[in-house]
């Protein structure tokens, strides 16, 4: 790695100082105030009456020495239930084997409990250090008072406080009562550990639920069991948000095992309670079976006129026209592209896709005495509670929400439609009821990653330098009312930023966007926007590099240039640290042997990088394409810079490997077609997902440790994979992939 530049050194100094003064300041510099949970730490301690030491809402130490740590964020496979408690345990100086991690229910005492945007780590990291350190300080003080020695002579280690000179030791359990009586020390009086002394952080720690996972113990939302539990299904209109006209309810109610069947009127909010028919039965199978006999007459509305082919034709028709919105205009692209430059033009497109989390949406709800209790696999419990409160007219305090483990999230479970459906059904049933979506429900009533069309032009000067860049992005938007006026709201992740690379880097740059109005539900899908923009832009940059006869790495380094940090545009813009990106790019290239390896035809390397979720990631893919057109990804080299500390090395590697595999599966296979306002595909036989034979042979993960704040890893390693692989395909056989999924491109060669 390069020597730190003077600016790096300054930052490091600042980080260290801030850590001493209370590291929350560091976060405050780059996160919005709302992200920082700092005030919670100063909260008075909650001293338990059962002899437990409870210095804050997240830590309990019992007199027998058992340590319980609360995980406030939902566990969706990102590993947060292991990693954030590790941070507390590190500062608390407890033996990890003494720790039990418990999932917290939705509770304002914990602060924000959403799991999305790779934010759980950066928004909690510093605070969780101080939670652990504060408790440790109190335990040390309790021991010092017991031994009548200065606290500075005491050492906390291995769930105990030691006095080395007196050779005395008191376990944390023995100190619990005494520590409980102490005041919570001021922030300034709590010293955080020096990172060089970390024993747990940065090591490989297995997921805390692994023993239960491999034993098949109940963990997930769908595993919830309650006395007298009933089972429900909810049929919605195949065309998005259609209304119920009539249904054969009497016939369905007479079917075996069926307790009730009723229409829920619902509303028009795509993220809310949509109209449908509920069937409640004695078992999941009785409900599923009855549903096959359900006949509903729907009012499909105007969405029934929408189709992917129709949208694609519209996009082609407006491609050459000026965009509805100009997102960035630097210099004069139009003038440059008619001048003495080499112009390259290409059109890229990608389809709507589903999250397809492997646990179908489900929620268990129990309505009793005007109060509602919910068990939900959710990424966003606050949203679920709020939606239910507003829809059913219940006060929030009458809604309890238990967060279960989620069988995958990927952004799907940020939307709470399935929670409000379960709640609305439960309100009509005098028993707890579990709503289970079928896979078909899940694929067809997702909040989809939006499809899109990009019409690109680039200009190269006589020296092969990129001097002009133009993208007309045709995207999708839902009609909404904004201040009482009709407006179009682009789907989540379906809006381009004027700062999207190489915006801010090319002297003549025009980024335009035109939304197509649609009634298709859209939502955040792992690394929203980035998951496709990286593919489009790094594929086209590659086209330009080849057109210029330049090495794709060297061409990219030239575009990045010599600036250190490029500021964002406007209030909401994000600064982009060029030196961090160049470092991961060069590191990946070095590890992959870029430019030093030669490949026979049919094999090649491709490169891409992307900055998102505060992480800097570069990837190089090596592929083999057979003459018959079969693609195998032999090797992926990933270099990441996500800051000063990897929390759980095993979990972090798992996230990167998973992002590579997920990125590859999406690239290779995923595609939903839309006809007559509905999704055509219903299950995995029609919607293929990546399987083990298509997983890369090798994925090499490199974490470059820098002095920057610690950031999240659930998303940023995904976006560069697709362009790296497609660029490798081009290097191997000279075919450019401009349409997703890749399975649509014929890769045969001779």
């Amino acid at each position: 790695m390069n020597e730190p530049t003077p600016i790096d050194a300054g930052r490091r100094d600042f980080l260290r100082k801030s850590a001493i003064a209370g590291g929350g300041l560091v976060l405050g510099c780059y996160l919005k105030a709302a992200d920082s949970a700092v005030p919670r730490v100063a909260k008075p301690s909650a001293i338990a009456t059962n002899g437990e030491f409870r210095p804050n809402a997240f830590i309990r130490i019992a007199p027998n020495g058992a340590v319980t740590l609360i995980s406030k964020q939902p566990e969706i496979g990102q590993g947060i239930k292991t990693s954030l408690p590790m941070v507390i345990a590190e500062e608390l100086e407890v033996d990890w084997r003494d720790v039990t991690v418990v999932q917290g229910d939705l509770d304002p005492a914990y602060g924000s409990q959403g799991a999305g945007g790779s934010r759980s780590t950066p928004t909690n990291y510093e605070e969780f250090h101080r939670l652990g350190a504060t408790a440790r300080t109190m335990l040390v003080e309790a021991a010092a008072l017991t031994w009548k020695v200065p606290a500075a002579e005491c050492v906390a280690e291995g769930s105990a406080v030691h006095h080395p000179r007196l050779k005395r030791k008191l376990g944390y359990g023995q100190l619990a009562v005494k520590a409980s009586a102490l005041p919570v020390p001021a922030v300034e009086a709590v010293r955080l550990k020096d990172p060089k002394d970390y024993k747990l952080l940065g090591t490989r720690v297995g997921g805390v639920d692994n023993p239960a996972v491999v034993a098949g113990k109940p963990l997930f939302g769908i595993d919830v069991k309650l006395p007298g539990l009933l089972y429900a299904v909810y049929e919605k209109c195949p065309a998005f948000a259609g209304k119920v006209v009539s249904a054969n309810l009497a016939e369905v109610k007479a079917l075996p095992g069926v307790r009730d069947a009723f229409v829920i009127e619902g509303g028009t909010d795509l993220r809310g309670l949509l109209p449908g028919v509920a069937i409640v039965a004695d078992s999941t199978w009785a409900a599923f079976s009855a549903r096959r006999r359900l006949k509903v007459v729907w009012d499909e509305g105007k969405v029934a006129g929408e189709s992917w082919d129709g949208f694609a034709a519209k996009a082609r028709a407006i491609a050459g026209q000026p965009g509805a919105e100009v997102l960035r205009k630097d210099g004069d692209v139009a003038a440059v592209l008619v001048g003495p430059v080499q112009t390259v033009a290409a059109a890229y497109r990608y389809p709507f896709i589903s999250h397809a989390s492997i646990e179908p949406q489900n929620c268990t709800a129990w309505f009793r005495d005007g109060k509602l209790e919910l068990w939900a696999p959710t990424q966003n419990p606050e949203t679920g509670q709020k939606l239910v409160a507003e829809t059913l007219g219940l006060p929030k305090e009458n809604i309890t929400l238990h967060i279960t483990r989620s069988g995958g999230g990927f952004g799907r479970r940020l939307i709470a439609d399935y929670i409000v459906e379960a709640a609305a059904i439960a309100r009509r049933v005098a028993a707890p009821v579990k709503l289970t979506w079928s896979r078909e429900d899940d694929l067809r009533h997702d909040h989809f990653r939006a499809g899109g069309f990009h019409f690109l032009r680039g200009g190269l000067d006589a020296k092969g330098r990129l001097v002009a860049w133009h993208d007309h992005f045709v995207t999708f938007a839902n009609p909404i009312l904004k201040d009482g006026q009709p407006a179009l709201q682009p789907g989540s992740g379906a809006s381009l930023s004027g700062d999207e690379f190489p915006g801010r880097w090319v002297q003549n740059c025009l980024l335009e966007q035109t939304p197509l109005e649609c009634g298709i539900p859209m939502g955040p899908w792992r690394a929203p926007g980035s998951n496709v923009f990286a593919w489009v832009f790094h594929s086209f940059i590659d086209e330009l590099a080849y057109a210029a006869g330049r090495d794709p790495l060297e061409f990219r380094l030239e575009i990045l240039g010599d600036r250190d940090v490029v500021p964002g545009t406007g209030d909401k813009g994000t600064p982009y640290d060029v030196s961090r990106m160049k470092r991961v790019l060069r590191y990946a290239a070095e590890q992959a042997g870029w430019g030093r390896k030669t490949f026979p035809r049919g094999q090649g390397q491709g490169i891409a990088f992307h900055f998102s979720h505060r992480g800097y990631i570069a990837q190089i893919a090596e592929v083999t394409v057979s003459r018959e057109g079969a693609l195998k990804v032999d090797r992926v080299v990933v270099a990441t810079d996500i800051g000063a500390q990897i929390v759980n090395l095993s979990g972090a590697e798992n996230q990167v490997q998973g992002s590579v595999v997920d990125g590859l599966g999406t690239l290779l296979f995923q595609e939903l077609n839309i006809e007559r306002g509905r999704v055509v595909q219903g299950n995995f036989d029609e919607y293929p997902m990546i399987r083990i034979p298509d997983a890369p042979t090798r994925i090499e993960v490199h974490f470059l440790k820098t002095d920057y704040p610690v950031t999240g890893l659930g998303e940023p390693a995904l976006p560069p994979l697709a362009p790296a692989v497609c660029n490798a395909v081009f290097a191997a056989i000279g075919k450019r992939v401009r349409q997703l999924p890749l399975a649509r491109t014929d890769l045969r060669w001779s």
Partner: protein
């Protein structure tokens, strides 16, 4: 509704169910053995894999009326102490992410190891191709099966 006596994890269980009820829902709803998971309902994802007469089967595609006397083994019955070499290897290598598919992966892998105690990567890819992992833990699944093969081998050697 009909009555069926099933041999599950070495014990007889008598259940009342409609004949077309998939074994999956008998396990999950009636017997509260929820380690066997619902993922697709059409035999495409493998999350519901159990052993039926010693062979991997999709519980969502197996009507309870067709189980008969064949013994059923679920993830809960794979090993009395949940210490099958695969279960140990999965923890040692921290294979799971969300974990939802892993019972199905382990059940399929257990059958593979029975027929091929030292499988190659290609054997693993062939045998496990019916089990989706949405989180993409496939590389760790490969490594986990190799590790389990080693663990089983050393156990055999120490027993000998």
């Amino acid at each position: 509704m009909s009555q069926y006596t099933l041999n599950i994890n070495g014990k007889p269980h008598t259940v009342d169910a409609a004949p077309d009820t998939p074994l999956l829902w008998v396990l999950r709803d009636t017997l509260n053995l929820v380690g066997t998971k619902f993922g697709c309902g059409v035999g495409q994802c493998g999350a519901c894999t159990v052993h039926l007469g010693g062979t991997p089967a999709r519980a969502c595609q197996t009507p309870v009326s067709e189980v008969g006397r064949r013994p059923v083994t679920t993830i809960e019955g794979l090993d009395p102490k949940a210490a099958h070499p695969l279960q140990r290897a999965w923890q040692e290598l921290d294979v799971p992410q969300c974990g939802y598919c892993q019972a199905g992966q382990i059940m399929t892998a257990a059958a593979l190891l029975k027929s091929k105690p030292r499988p190659s990567d290609a054997d693993i890819d062939d045998a496990l191709a019916g089990n989706l992992c949405r989180c993409g833990t496939y590389l760790r699944i490969r490594a986990g099966i190799h590790r389990a093969a080693e663990l089983a081998d050393s156990k055999k050697k120490s027993a000998a």
